[in-house]
Amino acid sequence: MRGSSPTAGPGRRPVIAAGLRRPTRRRLMAAASIAAALLCGGPAAALGPVATPTPDHRCASWTPTRRVLFGDLHVHTALSFDANSLGVRNLPSDAYRFARGQELGIQPYDKDGKARRHARLERPLDFAAVTDHSELLGELHQCHTPGAPGYDSLVCVTQRRWPLLAYIFVSSRMLNTEKPERYGFCGERGELCRNAASGPWKMIRDAAEEAYDRTDACSFTSFVAYEWSGGPGGNMTHRNVIFADEKAPNLPISFIDERQGEGLWKRLEEECAKEGCRFLTIPHNTNLSNGMLFSRETATVEDARRRRELEPLMEVMQHKGDSECRAGAADEFCSFEKLPFSRMEEQPFEFRWKQPGPLSFAREIYGDGLKREARLGVNPFRLGMIAATDTHLATAGLVDERGYPGHGAGGDTSRVEVPLVPDSLAFNPGGLAGVWAEENSRESIYAALKRREVYATSGPRIVVRFFGGFGYADGMCDSQTLAEDGYAGGVSMGGELNTNPEDGVDADAGGAPGVRKRPTFVVSALQDAGTQASPGTPLDRLQIVKIWLDGGEVHEKVFDVAETDWENAEDSLDASTCAAPSGGSASLCAQWRDEEWDSAKSALYYARAIEVPSCRWTGHLCAKVRADCSRKDSIPEGFEFCCQDSVAKTVRERAITSPIWISPGG
């Protein structure tokens, strides 16, 4: 089937740039050359209010119309109990070295301690954050520090002797439970282990400080960060905590200290009031939360306001699956990197697999946010979208499908042997966060995260702009000043459109008083340029997803706003060799007006840029061993999945922008 499937409203055929001409290939290509400069930070025009005021900006590449930066805000190292139990030895400083483009040895290790595998990014990241689990930081430190009070405890002996066994026990007692408890060796009220966390926490902070490029070159930005890993009943309520700068609490707050998001934010606010720090939190793996990140919390107006302020983003794509929308929805592109279970503890037992509960996917969460806004007057779930790897091997940003070595934790471990198949088949290399910032600095990126001018990519560095406004002139895609006009006449991704009555009336709509203009959106994308060794994959289409509230019911609809004239890229990809696919376009741009918009109804819109099919990591493996399903003897042992339809061999990589919200009355 070609095209997406609108899920509501009359007519199955998606509206193409309603009210405007459909973009032709020629126009797209013409616009591409203009957009390329603009999207990547073209000449700095005087834009006045467009740029975030950054009085101390210092980077040589400061760009008022903002430039896209790619990074990974979810990275684990050997300081995380689970990664350590999997034989990972790389530390935060190694993760940052890797992010900056240096080669890194990864598990397994031989008897001499030499890494038996190595990895390197083809393109360094612009920014990264090591987010080791705050839980068990102190316990692990004690277990590996001779002379520490807990070193000779049974738990620590078990951890050193049978690390995986210890991880199973410890995660059950302290992570995947309603009531986490510290072990006896942590002393009264767990103070010994809590204080022991100061050592590794300092290591994390020092590594971030060391990696941050404070020169005018601004080549790399690191963030002090950690992961708060709640797991009531095995349902993930994990959040990464990102600090704006080097200031952070003396100790990270863990799930053992605070068991709910509200408690976490309150404690962080208290700690940061003392330390002068600023922070935001980013929940992830809503697909494994059974909705508990959103259903249990945020009942009051005050809670909703605090949440909206402190939790501006969610991570919708990573190693452990995609969380944008539920598989099986009318939108065919939702069947993408979905896990077949709803909690990690179901994973080993197929008979226990269940579908994730309500509020496990971004679209459901957005819809619930609109409902809460109608009830509370505040939408606590105005969340931008990013992606990350969640690697547990310290391999920040390693998203290449080709040569994927796995990311550990939850997947296959590679702890003691180089595996034939490096990960659980349902897992994937994860994605990246795209951030529109004036410069590659903590101040600028943090501001972009706060205002949600960010997007998720499933790995490729697709460059996407998404603007929405009521006053855009036609022909934005042909404009040489797309970004300037986009900011001047509306808002970028993550923004909120003002619909106050004093904004005026729409002359196009008859000029009658009270008749509102229609919101217009501009989405422009450039394919990942790739490298000489691994060229990027062309784009297939641009879509705008609309979610709105009508009579208390949430509706959603997907619009194809730009498509290539390529008909069936699935056929153009030779999955047996994974040779570069044909078809698609290097760039796409569309301007689309929502003719169905009703100013009385809350709505949000986000854009998706979807590539033509390319080989998934499983497909690359099957191509490498030349698996031929017509000849059983060509299938090596362990590669039977190459001939199983249930295991995807191709993938539709994508970028998903943060939404633009429009609420009645602003």
């Binding site: 738990v155 002797r161 066994l165 007692r173």
Partner: protein, 131 residues
């Protein structure tokens, strides 16, 4: 050597040396004695730190697999000894001792065990399993 003693010795050897498949989240091939060792650690953890879901479940799974392995190996030892004594009634004891020595030799020199929980590596000899 009595047949009963021979059976007992052979059973102990099999419990110590024969790699049996076992499952606890990961799959491995370990001697029953190693499974008992893991069971012991798990029970000790429960005794010291209190019970929780995973530890209790693991203890039950390990206990069940250890018990099953012991029973199977007891049957195997009994059948083997009976047949050895039937073939060589006068030298049955010596034959059993030779068999035990051969099993030990293989177990001590060949990495026939798959030990998913051991920190030092997946494939191991008997001494490495317990070292």
């Amino acid at each position: 050597m009595t047949r009963r003693l021979a059976s007992g010795l052979l059973w102990l050897t099999l419990v110590l040396c024969v790699p049996l498949p076992f499952f606890l989240v990961e799959v491995g091939h370990q001697p029953v004695a190693a499974i008992v060792q893991l069971l012991g650690v798990t029970v000790a953890l429960i005794a010291v730190e209190g019970s929780d879901g995973a530890a209790s479940l693991a203890a039950w799974m390990l206990a069940a697999q250890a018990l099953l392995g012991m029973v199977v190996l007891a049957l195997a030892a009994t059948v083997l000894v009976r047949n050895i004594y039937r073939v060589a009634p006068a030298r049955g004891g010596a034959a059993v001792l030779v068999l035990i020595a051969a099993i030990l030799a293989v177990a001590l020199t060949q990495p026939i065990y798959i030990t998913p929980f051991r920190a030092a590596g997946l494939h191991a000899t008997l001494t490495e399993v317990f070292e």
